[in-house]
Amino acid sequence: MIMKIVDVLICGLLLGGIYALIAVGLSLQYGVARVLNISHGELIMLGAFGTWSLYTFFDINPLISLVICGPVLFLAGFALHKTLFKSLLKSSGSIGAFEGSSLLACFGLLFIIQNIAITSWGADIKGYSYLSVPVNLGGAIFAANRLVTLAFAVGIGITFYLFLARTRLGKAIRAAAQDPAAAGLMGVNINHVLALCFGFGALMAGFAGVLLSMCYPVKATMGLEYTIIAIIVVVLGGLGSIPGSFIGGFILGIIGSIVSYIEPSLSLAAYYIIFILLLLVKPTGIMGK
């Protein structure tokens, strides 16, 4: 019995790492760029399909795909903000109006990206096997790829946290998150910083997609579930907090793992119950102010 509990907990942590990464991405896009990116999961799906294609057709190691899919999605996100969201921001009278119109635009993006994925990769489930050798972790057996996934998720999270804390650009991003108008008046090129943030959000989605594809099957309609998880984790951890996203991700991962152990089809319902309880009890999240 105790073995089983440890097993479920570790499983939750492995899942939580990816959830955290997804949430960090959404947190950047919504917390700084003020775009509630409903198509975030679609970017994850693109990362996953990209990795699958590179592995299947060109025999490229999925870990190398991290440095291919990540930057490509970063550029796509950056370009998307520089064109679509920048002009929406210009034409919206207030930040509230922008949040509304950008949300609608993201709904459009969701369908466009999903349909393109279905036409190019088909609607059926794809998968590949990479590092699926079993590893014995204190008696519990896990596939090596899941441990690699967790290690990379935590590594990417820590790197990005240090980037925000230590670098010049990181300071600008944090300032823009706290008060965009004041940051602009202090010489920060706000439009550029917002586009970079949206790009970094897409980068995180890309990384998450690459890592996910190593352990889970990939399909064109997989995105929405991850978008919902990202939104729940962001609310759970507190908007804009990277440690919060990781704490939230791990909590949700563990809860998901426990619920799936009892009844797999209930995990998304359990996430929603947590989400609603949280909105009622502590809407600012664990690390939120």
Binding site: R168, G184, M186, G187, V188, I190
Partner: protein
């Protein structure tokens, strides 16, 4: 060259809906001056500052800085050209440390790019200048109002401005803190920075301003030395009378 104004506005106008927040205002600020901008609430003082710093866009009229048209530029460009400001309701970055707040100014606002070490050294010396060096690592949101206002001054100075716009630096401060703020402003002028300030604390304005501009309903109704303003009948009617009365309560 010598008699060119540092800052100059011509027929500066901005409507909000049908309301003229600032209407046909001509103004100038010369190098080394401390110029005061006064007027009742809603007179358009902060709007004028917002127009100069491009926090809101100027639709009609022109603003020039050192002879060059700056209206139409984005806020970050204007900051780099040498105009910095503080805010009526403080806008520090609450989650960042005091030092980081100032660093942001030197890293992004300064006309020339600074090395990290130089920026850090300059930020430290500015915090000392503003009397905040003991609070370097404190999150800015935890400071008292008076300290947050000083932090805004330090952050603005970090962008190496030639002109500093101070928007109600003394509002909400107690008499001791006001005295401190006045001293700070004189010290800023002594560093060679020109000061254009909005303030409601009239005694302070009379002491430190070389010249005062009075706005009322978005229009300029008077301009002159503090003595001339204090003696102007128009100004007393719309503004000073009310202020003196309020002060005696």
């Amino acid at each position: 060259m010598c008699n060119m104004h540092v800052l100059e506005g011509e027929r500066v106008t901005r409507y909000f809906g049908g309301l003229a927040a600032v209407s046909n205002v001509d103004f100038y600020v010369d190098r080394g001056e401390i110029v005061g901008l006064i007027g009742p609430n809603g007179a358009g003082k902060t709007t004028l500052f917002n127009l100069i710093s491009a926090a809101i866009t100027l639709k009609s009229g022109v603003i020039r800085f050192k002879g060059e048209k700056i209206s139409g530029l984005r806020p970050c460009r204007i900051c780099k050209k040498g105009i910095a400001r503080t805010f009526q309701s403080v806008k520090v970055f609450p989650g960042m440390s005091v030092l980081e707040n100032v660093l942001l100014g030197s890293l992004f606002g300064a006309p020339a790019k600074l090395s990290r070490a130089d920026a850090r050294a300059e930020a430290s010396s500015l915090l000392e200048f503003a009397g905040l060096s003991e609070m370097k690592t404190v999150p800015a949101g935890d400071l008292t109002l008076a300290s947050q206002k000083r932090l805004e001054v330090a952050r603005a100075l970090a962008t190496r401005p030639e002109l500093l716009l101070l928007d109600e630096l003394m509002a909400g401060l107690n008499p001791t803190e006001i005295a401190g703020a006045m001293e700070l402003i004189s010290k800023i002028r002594d560093r060679g920075v020109t000061v254009f300030m909005v303030e409601h604390v009239m005694r302070a304005m009379m002491c430190i301003c070389g010249r005062i501009i009075v706005l009322h309903h978005g229009e300029k109704i008077a301009e002159g030395t503090p003595q001339e303003i204090a003696a102007s009948k128009t100004v007393i009617d719309v503004y000073l009378g009310e202020q003196v009365y309020a002060g005696n309560q």
